[in-house]
Symmetry: none
Amino acid sequence: MSSSESSAPTVRATVVQASTIFYDTPATLDKAERLLAEAASYGSQLVVFPEAFVGGYPRGSNFGVSIGNRTLKGKEDFRKYHAAAIDVPGPEVDRLAAMAGKYKVFLVMGVIERDGYTLYCTVVFFNNQGCYLGKHRKLMPTALERIIWGFGDGSTVPVFDTPIGKIGAAICWENKMPLLRTAMYAKGIEIYCAPTADSREVWQASMTHIALEGGCFVLSANQFCRRKDYPAPPEYVFSGTEQDLTPESVVCAGGSVIISPSGTVLAGPNYDGEALITADLDVGEIARAKFDFDVVGHYARPEVLSLMVRDHPATPVCFTSEASHK
Amino acid sequence: MSSSESSAPTVRATVVQASTIFYDTPATLDKAERLLAEAASYGSQLVVFPEAFVGGYPRGSNFGVSIGNRTLKGKEDFRKYHAAAIDVPGPEVDRLAAMAGKYKVFLVMGVIERDGYTLYCTVVFFNNQGCYLGKHRKLMPTALERIIWGFGDGSTVPVFDTPIGKIGAAICWENKMPLLRTAMYAKGIEIYCAPTADSREVWQASMTHIALEGGCFVLSANQFCRRKDYPAPPEYVFSGTEQDLTPESVVCAGGSVIISPSGTVLAGPNYDGEALITADLDVGEIARAKFDFDVVGHYARPEVLSLMVRDHPATPVCFTSEASHK
Amino acid sequence: MSSSESSAPTVRATVVQASTIFYDTPATLDKAERLLAEAASYGSQLVVFPEAFVGGYPRGSNFGVSIGNRTLKGKEDFRKYHAAAIDVPGPEVDRLAAMAGKYKVFLVMGVIERDGYTLYCTVVFFNNQGCYLGKHRKLMPTALERIIWGFGDGSTVPVFDTPIGKIGAAICWENKMPLLRTAMYAKGIEIYCAPTADSREVWQASMTHIALEGGCFVLSANQFCRRKDYPAPPEYVFSGTEQDLTPESVVCAGGSVIISPSGTVLAGPNYDGEALITADLDVGEIARAKFDFDVVGHYARPEVLSLMVRDHPATPVCFTSEASHK
Amino acid sequence: MSSSESSAPTVRATVVQASTIFYDTPATLDKAERLLAEAASYGSQLVVFPEAFVGGYPRGSNFGVSIGNRTLKGKEDFRKYHAAAIDVPGPEVDRLAAMAGKYKVFLVMGVIERDGYTLYCTVVFFNNQGCYLGKHRKLMPTALERIIWGFGDGSTVPVFDTPIGKIGAAICWENKMPLLRTAMYAKGIEIYCAPTADSREVWQASMTHIALEGGCFVLSANQFCRRKDYPAPPEYVFSGTEQDLTPESVVCAGGSVIISPSGTVLAGPNYDGEALITADLDVGEIARAKFDFDVVGHYARPEVLSLMVRDHPATPVCFTSEASHK
Amino acid sequence: MSSSESSAPTVRATVVQASTIFYDTPATLDKAERLLAEAASYGSQLVVFPEAFVGGYPRGSNFGVSIGNRTLKGKEDFRKYHAAAIDVPGPEVDRLAAMAGKYKVFLVMGVIERDGYTLYCTVVFFNNQGCYLGKHRKLMPTALERIIWGFGDGSTVPVFDTPIGKIGAAICWENKMPLLRTAMYAKGIEIYCAPTADSREVWQASMTHIALEGGCFVLSANQFCRRKDYPAPPEYVFSGTEQDLTPESVVCAGGSVIISPSGTVLAGPNYDGEALITADLDVGEIARAKFDFDVVGHYARPEVLSLMVRDHPATPVCFTSEASHK
Amino acid sequence: MSSSESSAPTVRATVVQASTIFYDTPATLDKAERLLAEAASYGSQLVVFPEAFVGGYPRGSNFGVSIGNRTLKGKEDFRKYHAAAIDVPGPEVDRLAAMAGKYKVFLVMGVIERDGYTLYCTVVFFNNQGCYLGKHRKLMPTALERIIWGFGDGSTVPVFDTPIGKIGAAICWENKMPLLRTAMYAKGIEIYCAPTADSREVWQASMTHIALEGGCFVLSANQFCRRKDYPAPPEYVFSGTEQDLTPESVVCAGGSVIISPSGTVLAGPNYDGEALITADLDVGEIARAKFDFDVVGHYARPEVLSLMVRDHPATPVCFTSEASHK
């Protein structure tokens, strides 16, 4: 973003609130394209999808695991979930890149990434030229997610400097990690994407706080899912609550929202159904907000508090002849 | 807190929402004692006062300063403000300690501390035995505060391990500093006091976020002030808005609040007037909340993100003959 | 172990196969002392307890967690589990040290360690003089354990050089981590303790393999538990299987075993009930086994394969004034 | 292996348990072809032969060596053994490639490789199109093998990504090297071949452990040899035991086995005679197993433990003009 | 050695030709001291002992190993041999240092070094002040030695610059390694010690060649042993030849020798019995010889032929906190 | 050499010990043919001539050179010596090739090569089909040779793989260069030719050592010359010794020798006169010897010691338009 103009530009941004077509990655990509096309049709320049949109968020599943035990059904659930995940890069990433180029939007997409037999909850980024820019792997999964997803490292916490602003993402409860947020602030993030799976009301407080703390726009995208968006039992079971659910029951209520650097809610939160939530981001708000509080700038106290970010890749095995054999 | 009990204890806590008696420190201390006695009378074990309650928050003043200029009036305003501040330790601190012991409460008090001719926005801590425990100096003043208050250092970010829990404080927009909060989390803070002067609604979002992020109780105390709580013009002028104000005009709307580690608002926010806001803190909530998210425990990624806190005193002059001259 | 003798010495070692008294840490310590006394009475010099003997292994619990959801009951389960854990060091560690000194045995004990609000699955070591030697924190919990226990770091992988041999421990599926085992081999481990919660038959294959791979004695201790060793439902529920269980049902079948460096099973595996499993370890077997295969000695290829162990502590926040403020 | 299928494919694999025709490499290749044809006749897609099948495993020989001494007979034994070895690549490798293509099987064959006057214990790999893929040289010979075989380096530890899965091999006690196995895991091995000469029962424990540790299929092939499979004395002598042997005496008992990633024995171990041991490998088992334990994925701790693999060739003399002048 | 004097100095040097007292390290050290005292008594400034003098060269043993087999007796032989080895540094090294200081001689001693459960064939160096200078570990054992000794690395190929000249050592057939010799020449070796176990006549050719090639004094020390110097059968067996031996049979014939840089034999070779072989080394011979041929000087062709010596330690496991935990 | 035969072949080889006919190259070639015919007549397959046999070794001459001075006589001596040298290739080389073909022998011939006005001490190789194979130029002349001969480079250190074995040559004191020998070993040399001009006894030690070190046959050919084999004074002067010489005085005593890979002298050394020295080389000796010691195979430590050979041509002027101008 050039910064010397007398009036600041505006960026039209959309957060997508929609459900994965579970266990069907090709159909999910088709759905993504329809949503992307719709957002582009009314001029959106940036589209942010929810966490795990491609690959799916296996809500309600416990993968057959209790302490010290696991079931064959749970292992097979994992095998199918693994099969629905995508390689990054890989053919599905190529398709997403092509979509971004076709509709000329910047695209931020939550995916389940497959790296051998470990999965990662990942966000992939594309520019409006159809180029894959890079990825962010969730650093720390929450609760039961820790049995299905691996842990990212410091090498995939990107902030991309694009013509519409500096874009990055933190996924779901990563947004609660103050040191991670600070690393992203230090990279100059201006459009802070928060794909999530958390539809509780308190989530809104964190989104507002981050906008204020970081002096950035916050775009939080969550899925809106009904029971019927997942396979029917017994193939797929919402453990403990299955008996209370009808096909129409809402199992993830959304709450997608766009907030300005001053903490003003620009669009959403929407708890009603699948939707595209759109706002025009007044880029000048960033400077206005940071006048008061610049978290890694004038308001930092680096001589007292300094954060070390180890952003090299951490791999269990390193081959001298090449970066990776995988 | 002993940790082996089968059911967790409860702590009754009060945040005070009241105004300084401006330029009259003895009277302010009298007022503090009345409020303390009242809180104690219905069983409160912990009482938290707003930022700058002793010494005053000079809201609306600009101390005669514009860029490149200052006025004699402004200099005299500072002289009077300096005179109303207190030494820490000093006689006013002794009086506060005595109050805490008399009413058997843990006391967290916002004061303006005088250290030579520099002032600090400070919080002082007392236990229910009448002992002064220590102080926290605001690390980073906001905007115009930077011309009247100095900057604290890393040596005064205490968290005290008391029988009712681990207590500390961050003042006003310090609460927006993620690295400072993380330092306090690392010290194990359980009862997080947030004396403030910010009565905007968005402040509530940050308080809720901190409770969730830190897995701690958040107690935010703000003054509730009308124009008449300050000296009348021309002695004291609300620059720029004075003409719009009547003596009854609310110039600081309060918003004091108590929030649990799960983000539940236990009491407040109160925007109505001076008040004591009280809640019973169920200590077991901390473990229940940290089960999901322990910011410096199981949810940290220390091998990726690590914060260095330089918590030794930073003094411009150091004498080799003794550890400290203060 | 002095190495110039003409005939090698023998060490009598016992692995304890017994159940925690769940949610009752003092009673569990009493039980530990009874078992220790019995082992000492017939000359045992080393006693190894199972994983999580103090604090308990919450088998069958799911802590109310499914993907994206958690229950209040699960949070309260965690609070109680947290309350039953112990600080290391702390009073329970002092008691264990005193036991080891009283009965003059080397003691290796599985505990649940509480560090603030994060728990660790830890093994604590004591010498036969009653001194606490140090601890090992499980590096990587398995499956659902990842939601109740934090992850250890490289600073707590000790091998202690004692008069009866070099002793260390890996917990449960850590034993499946080839790089961790190699780090312990490099520290010269001779008596490899494997406290576990895995009673499947394939566990025996890994124990035998490790003895051969490491050229060390392997002592695997598992709990033997019936349903009645845990609180009755509804306080404590074996998720998914509760309906199939009677109070006498075996929920953890033991399988504790002692294996020599040549892969010979010296005692156990026992799948019958609570028991003390004892064998005399012929120290000379180590040299005889390493003659053929010395995994970090003559059989290593360090110029091709070299392992880096980062064994400094990894902490999210570091204070310059001291190691830790907690 | 394509990974998005809804049900996982199956691979039929055979391990050959048969003896070399000692000192007669052409006849041994004829025998290999007969065995390969038989396996192919009932649909096997992958055939794994034992260590040193071509060239022979000189069991019982001591090559006339004691510490500080060697005999003329031993030197001549070596000359003949050297003469029976094969160049890689070379005419025998061409013949093996042709066999693999003719019978349309993936072929993993243990050979004695001749490189000048140093021999290597090598495994050569072929695809079902009749192409030689590459070789693995044993990194570290065991005991007396060190006087007849050289040591491989890090440049020949291949894992080949084939349509039936990722295939590699470790030979005999190499399988006891945890760092080597980890290097292969990092290369994504799915079908782990373990040609061996070890027929002891404890070998089975290591095979099961590796399947569990690596989350891979393990195919261990050993020769089944009687005394008469070797030249009669005095040309060839089983040192120390010759007097106890009849022509029918079993000198290598086999024990070839196929194990699944969950540790289930799918076929074998066979200790009865020459045999083809076949199983259908359910590829989905890999994902199911790695759900619990992915040794270089979600269960690794790379920030604590990281392995460096120097996989460039190590040659005593390097000519700038070309890779090798030999 | 100062090099500008008009007449070059002379160094009196002794090579010891004597047998270890097998399996009795304290008695062997006593014998070493007697021999050292005797050499010192007639003015020797440098005393070189044979390979493995301390710890013993287990000539004739095969440690029960044939290809693919090993015996229990062989394993126990190794255990005893391991027990007779010494740690470096360690108490026996301290004793050797004290001897060197007491008799004021430079001492070069062949030992069997124990590092955990791997043994190395090592030479230890001491100055005439009683200081331990360092060690050389044999890089490559010969034939059956490879089953009892590990392999040194490039970090222990020292050449010590002493007042009597630059001293280093290569052990037995290491002396046949042209690249190792060149590394030592490049370090400036002047007094080249060749402790050995090879008493064949052709050994003399190599010694003469090295003196000429390196332009250095060569001091080769071998044991002179009769059958009776080893334990009697059946405890210790000369495999294959035991039946031909009487207690008086010579099993190692010595051949210790001292040669000048011009290839002149100064003393020895002695094949008669235990002996001290002494010569005065005319240091000026070095320059006279190198006038014609300076192998790493004027006679090198570095632009065509250059040797890389990797002289860092190669360890299978490296701990970041310290050099070694062993 | 085919390698699968059950018994190894034999090669009959001859070294020629004879004098150049000085300053008469055609006559020298005639003499060469007579000697070749004689060797062929009793079945020799390989004939090796001494250093500088064609062109002559100007023993005793100082070419009028002392430090800072040269004489006209010396310059003229060089002109005549230059005239007697041959171009390679060239007509004399063609004649030598024809001889080899006619007598069906492999021929290794020392020559003085003329390249413009610089001379090289060169060995030329021919097969038994009458083909010139290539040449080796002496890398490093010794002492005064450096004023008459240039220095070879790494591009002419060939080893030719022929039906009778791998053949190469090093000239005179080149044989003392360990790195050059190692380069030749790495090229697999089996029949190591050492044309020389050194007839000292210590030369034999080096020849034996090389056979052992390289595991190859060594064939050393030296001229046997009397004073009368050179022009009489004053045309040709043995500087300094001329006065002690009669025409019959031996000025080069020969010492030609053939040694097996085990260090056994097969023929020679002959110090009596001109002679053909012949032996049958048992090729199996190579494998038997390398069983113990394979200098660039199993006995190398490439990860510690590695030699770089720059074997591209080194020319002072290089023309971009063609690969080589010579």
